[in-house]
């Protein structure tokens, strides 16, 4: 019995130390870091991004709505909202054609979550913004041009 208790104390001590040293959260953090699709974020065009995301072609779709200003005064903060009416939407991606890297953000939509997200992105210059929706492992796209009067990349 005493032996068991010692073992228990030892184990909990080690676990406690790990948590205190941030080892456990570090591991978690690293696991999440690895989930970042570097290849996709390095791409320079819509076609390349789709390839890096595992697709081959995109079909234009009227079921994707991009809500964003026609003219953004400040390219550093451009509010963009994307919603999809395509059934089984699994993911939403926001791409800016003329940014140094095309892909700005990607969202994974589990079932039960509405296929509609809003965020704010940076735009270097006036450009087409593509909203790509992944549904049933197919890719759909809608495009809107946003004019930028003051760029948000570089300075």
């Amino acid at each position: 019995m005493i032996q068991n208790r010692r073992e228990f104390v030892k184990v909990s001590g080690v676990l406690g130390l790990m948590a205190a040293a941030g080892l456990i959260t570090m591991k978690e953090a690293q696991a999440q870091q690895q989930a970042w699709n570097k290849a996709a974020f390095d791409t320079k065009s819509l076609e390349d991004t789709i390839k890096a995301l595992g697709g081959s072609a995109t079909a234009p779709s009227g079921d994707i709505t991009i809500t964003a200003p026609d003219i953004a005064e400040n390219g550093a903060v451009v509010p963009v909202a994307v919603s999809s009416k395509i059934p089984n939407t699994q993911g939403i991606y926001v791409l800016v054609e003329k940014n140094p890297n095309t892909l700005a953000a990607g969202f994974t939509i589990p079932s039960g979550t509405e296929p509609s997200v809003a965020t704010r992105i940076k735009m270097g210059q006036t450009s087409n913004v593509h909203a790509v929706v992944k549904a049933d492992n197919k890719f759909y796209v809608a495009t809107k041009e946003i004019k930028v009067t003051l760029g948000g990349c570089g300075g």
Partner: protein
């Protein structure tokens, strides 16, 4: 330790509306400092929103997301009084988790 997030989650007839405002520099890696040196990129790369331990949204971001990122979405199945948690990780391995109660 990075600054806390501001999270607002409200129950609405068609689901729980979640709005998150994070505090992060989101350095794009394109900008040069006064000495002409490139400022290295420093940005949030992954965001996870959990409700009852189950992810309701995960996001992968590049450096093109604006400084102090904003995120809004809606999910079904949440009730008033329940908790959601939001976690982000940046490309330097820094992380922060904050909780909010659905109101």
């Amino acid at each position: 330790m990075p600054d806390p997030m501001r999270i607002r989650a409200t129950e609405q007839p068609d689901g729980v509306d979640v709005r998150v405002l994070m505090s992060h520099e989101m350095e794009g890696g394109q900008r040069r400092d006064s000495a002409g040196q490139l400022v290295p990129a420093h940005f949030i790369s992954n965001v996870t929103v959990n409700h009852n331990g189950k992810p309701v949204l995960t996001a992968e971001w590049g450096p093109a997301v604006s400084k102090n990122p904003y995120l809004q979405f809606k999910f079904k199945g949440g009730k008033k009084g329940e908790k959601i948690s939001v976690t982000w990780v940046d490309n330097k391995g820094e992380t922060r988790t904050d909780e909010a109660t659905i109101g």
